[in-house]
Amino acid sequence: TVGAVALDRDGNLAAATSTGGMTNKMPGRVGDVPVIGAGTYADNRTAAISATGHGEKFIRNVVAYQIAAGIEFDGLTLQEAADRVINGKLDQGDGGIIAVDRFGTISMTFNSPGMFRGAIDSQGYFEVAIWE
């Protein structure tokens, strides 16, 4: 699975996710997780989120939307909202998310041993990483 989230100069957010699914999956099975609300979500009021992981879990927990809702309705920061879902509701090893909020705050939160990831912003921050 691959994904990208961005905040642009106009303050707009967007999210995108694409995948081949899982090896040996049953034909027609969808997950892992380009499903709106589950693994892909963007709302200028909150954040843009793209997920990667055990798709069925992300769908059942509506992960991406739950993170956005944590910001909108519970007043959480992006990282607090991401932690609550990824580390508080999902099982260890289920996967992770990348996200950016309307302030440009970056989150790369995962509970699996690794996640291929990268981030960059207008203030000179740059990172690419695989493991913790």
Partner: protein, 217 residues
């Protein structure tokens, strides 16, 4: 911040035993995508344009499980899913089970922008793609040896676990779309849930996702 971009290339069990060359290859691919996206953001392109463009780069990179390099289904073909969402207005587009659109993320955007709908799947999505100018490819375009080997190992292990003789096949005519001979398939649903295997050898052909990790994309 004026702009920010974050990307991922999948999560799961990623062996720390991979060679420096393999690790550097992945990091270089990630950096290429991030730098390309940043340049677009710096130039004032929209977040929507950027996430589509960056995902296209990753879809075209055989290291990642999307587009070229996508894993195989149990019928030895590639079924691709993608979704995109615009934070300005909550507009969204998604597609599932695509087989012939080179960049599924662009199909998702087409659905979002050019139709009143959100989600197309399977044959209907392919028919809709016929109405677009998006690049189409044969399903074999997405083939890579590493993914084929992963499928073969998964099928072999599944057959061992299920006890279904190797001669029991679904008979799916995969050869027409994959270029490979029709692959033996088990009929056991349990065969689809394999246990994690040992670490890979550290060579590119053995990285990186192990069986259980493949559930994670």
């Amino acid at each position: 911040k004026e702009y920010a971009l974050v990307i991922h290339g999948g999560a799961g069990v990623i062996s720390r035993d991979i060679s420096d060359e393999v690790r550097e290859g992945y990091l270089a691919s990630l950096e290429t995508a991030v730098r390309a996206g940043e340049e677009m953001l710096r130039e004032g392109r929209s977040a929507l344009d950027v996430v589509e463009a960056v995902v296209m780069i990753l879809e075209d990179d055989p290291r990642f499980n999307a587009g070229v390099g996508a894993v195989y289904t149990s019928e030895a073909v590639h079924e691709l899913d993608a979704a995109i969402m615009d934070g300005r207005d909550l507009n969204a587009g998604a597609v599932a089970g695509l087989r012939t659109v080179r960049n599924p993320i662009s199909m998702a955007r087409y659905i979002m922008e050019e139709t009143p709908h959100v989600f197309f799947a399977g044959a209907g999505a392919e028919q809709l793609a016929d109405q677009t100018s998006l690049e189409r490819v044969d399903n074999t375009f997405f083939n890579t040896e590493i993914r084929r080997n992963q499928l073969d190992r998964a099928l072999q292990r599944a057959a061992q676990q299920s006890g279904v003789p190797a001669g029991v096949h679904r008979g799916y005519a995969a050869a027409e779309t994959t270029g490979h001979p029709t692959t033996p398939q088990t009929n056991s649903p349990g065969a689809l849930h394999s246990t994690p295997s040992a670490s890979g050898s550290g060579t590119f052909s053995e990285v990186i996702f192990l069986e259980e990790a493949d559930r994670y994309g």
